[in-house]
């Protein structure tokens, strides 16, 4: 069946179901509530006092950058926490509700089902990210951050959400129960994040022990979105100087681009495996254009 992104039945239906209840509105309110609350606490604890004794333009910019960094990291953590909950149940919940077979015996391809599920979760994340824009725009009152910086950061958020979302969908096709899929997704993310940093530190040690002197980024860091975020913030605040995540990687300006590409490639692979996994006759390209 010919399917386009904008007329994917799974996407349309999911959006309709998600938006109909009060849960989505409550989710956005909670999400923004957490961000506003933490940002407010941060402001009155660290920023206000410093501005009280130094009201120069430079001090305002420093305050803006400081709030921006805090909000950027906070939003990043929230994305990592919320996305798996959105995607890890996408296929397993269909199994639990006994609707997966009904869907699979239609002319909608496995590709259409997985992409529809991923896009609906992503559109929800996008809604959360976009709804946080007014909060971020407060930073412009202080200065020190450009709209270009913000666009770069938000683009990276979307890529991170796609990568984490694809991990959730992948485990959702493997485990029958949503709870299991969600827990395993969180554990995998945590393990990958931690292992990539430990392994990177070890590889860097070996590199410098063997006389390496040029800037070097060990490959495990490319799969860690936290490293990408750290690089973006370093670029925007200090022009890329300083090591990524405190590791001695040297001066890096475009690492976040390679990091994003790596995450997108991994996301693509996981989506591909998910498509193959839910196809009941295990033929990826068996779908044909019938209508």
């Amino acid at each position: 069946m010919r399917m386009r992104f904008y007329n994917n039945p799974v996407l349309s239906s999911e959006l309709k179901i998600r938006m109909r209840g009060w849960k989505t509105a409550l989710g956005i309110i909670s999400y923004l509530g957490v961000m506003v609350f933490i940002a407010f606490l941060y402001y009155i604890t660290f920023i206000q006092s410093s501005l009280d004794w130094n009201r120069s333009v430079n001090a305002n910019q420093q305050a803006g950058i400081s709030i921006y960094t805090m909000l950027a990291v906070l939003q990043f953590i929230l994305i990592l926490l919320v996305t798996p909950a959105q995607t890890a149940g996408s296929i397993s919940s269909e199994r639990e509700k006994q609707t997966l077979d009904l869907l699979l015996c239609t002319q909608l391809s496995s590709f259409g089902i997985i992409i529809g599920k991923l896009l609906s979760s992503m559109s929800h994340m996008l809604l959360l990210i976009v709804s946080s824009l007014p909060l971020f725009s407060i930073i412009f009152l202080f200065g020190g951050v450009t709209p270009g910086d913000m666009i770069m950061l938000f683009s990276f958020y979307i890529i991170t959400a796609i990568a984490v979302g694809s991990i959730g969908i992948f485990f959702s096709t493997i485990f029958k129960r949503t709870v299991t899929a969600t827990v395993v997704t969180y554990l995998t993310m945590f393990a990958l994040g931690l292992i990539s940093i430990i392994l990177s530190a070890y590889l860097m040690n070996i590199y410098y022990l063997h006389g390496g002197s040029a800037s070097y980024v060990p490959f495990p860091l490319y799969i860690n979105p936290a490293a990408g975020l750290a690089n973006i913030l370093q670029n925007q605040i200090s022009g890329g100087s300083g090591g990524i995540l405190g590791l001695g990687t040297g001066y890096q300006t475009s690492f976040w681009i390679y990091n994003s590409i790596t995450m997108l490639v991994i996301a693509g692979l996981l989506v591909l495996i998910s498509i193959i996994r839910i196809n009941p006759v295990n033929r990826l390209f068996s779908w044909k254009k019938n209508s």
Binding site: M1, S13, Q98, D101, L104, L108, P280, N290
Partner: protein, 311 residues
């Protein structure tokens, strides 16, 4: 319309379906009967392209399900033995969603939704939420869903399971209406009488093997060698009993008032001779019919676990 040849499905060393063959022509209503775990659902899931067979071929309208499952899905409607619902979806939205999964246009979906809700008598529930419907209504809605793309073949896995008697009768009426529309139907049940009056022919499956395939009447006669005949007369019941007792191939005449039942071992030609005799002797016969008999007993007989294939 549906051809299954030497179908085998194995799960490790366990054989769920064992060299099963079946042929359904257009307009056939075929009852698939067997005890729980006999292999009915596995066979139906393979036909519905939800499972790959270990070996053998299955063709729907000439298309091999393993070769082109997407094309096959356009030809068949599948109703499983469970009913999955989406929260927060209304009845018409539910059908519209599945219509869009089959690539129907908005106008086609609206038209089909109205037609099918009328067929399954749920027009007044169009704007109700699906999860608020009764079980019987959900089953009917599920049937409507499987018909959304106007398939030629319907695969119905225990469509009346868990329904109350009234809902069963309503479902049976809808299936008869579908049969009269010329749909080919493969319907499963573990209750033979449920299928007997609905189907043109039946297949009895046990331990993955087809132990009988053919007409219900033939199955009964073949197993017992006897046909149960039910005769209703206006009067002279005693005279009719006397007359029947004098005839060969008649056993066990029973009855109350003007309704008689007897077991007959003759063929259909001899049976018509028996009716002629009663009429010429002046017995006022109101009806003379072949009765179903104790169909459960026959089912137990067929599925007692023998390896011998009857056909």
């Amino acid at each position: 319309m549906l051809v299954i040849e030497n179908l085998v499905k194995k799960y490790g060393s366990f054989t769920a379906v064992d060299k099963l063959s079946l042929r359904l022509d257009t307009g056939d209503i075929y009852g698939f009967v067997g005890p729980n775990g006999a292999g009915k659902t596995t066979t139906m899931r393979i036909v519905a392209t939800l499972m790959r067979a270990t070996s053998g071929t299955v063709k729907v309208a000439g298309i091999d399900v393993a070769e082109d499952p997407m094309a096959v899905r356009g030809k068949l409607g599948y109703m499983p033995d469970f009913f999955g619902v989406y929260d927060n979806l209304k009845v018409h939205e539910y059908l519209d969603f599945y219509g869009s999964c089959y690539g129907l246009s908005v106008n086609e979906r609206k038209k089909r939704t109205d037609e099918l809700l009328e067929l399954v008598e749920l027009s007044d529930k169009k704007d109700s939420y699906v999860d608020a419907l009764s079980r019987g209504m959900k089953q009917r809605l599920c049937l409507a869903r499987s018909l959304m793309h106007n398939p030629e073949l319907l695969i119905l896995d225990e469509p009346a399971s868990g329904m109350d008697p009234r809902a069963r009768i309503e479902m049976k009426g809808i299936l008869k209406a579908l049969g009269s529309m010329g749909k080919t139907i493969l319907i499963s049940s573990h209750i033979l009488p449920e299928l007997a009056e609905l189907c043109t022919s039946i297949g009895v499956i046990e331990k993955g093997r087809m132990v009988y395939s053919g007409r219900v009447d033939d199955l009964m006669s073949r197993l017992t060698g006897k046909t149960l005949i039910r005769i209703r007369v206006l009067s002279d019941a005693e005279k009719a009993v006397r007359l029947l007792r004098e005839q060969p191939r008649i056993e066990n005449i029973t009855g109350e008032a003007n309704m008689l039942e007897l077991e007959y071992t003759g063929n259909e030609e001899e049976m018509s001779g028996l009716l002629r005799l009663l009429v010429t002797e002046g017995i006022p016969v109101v009806s003379f019919t072949k009765a179903e008999g104790n169909i459960e007993k026959v089912f137990m007989e067929v599925t007692k676990g023998e390896d011998e294939v009857l056909q």
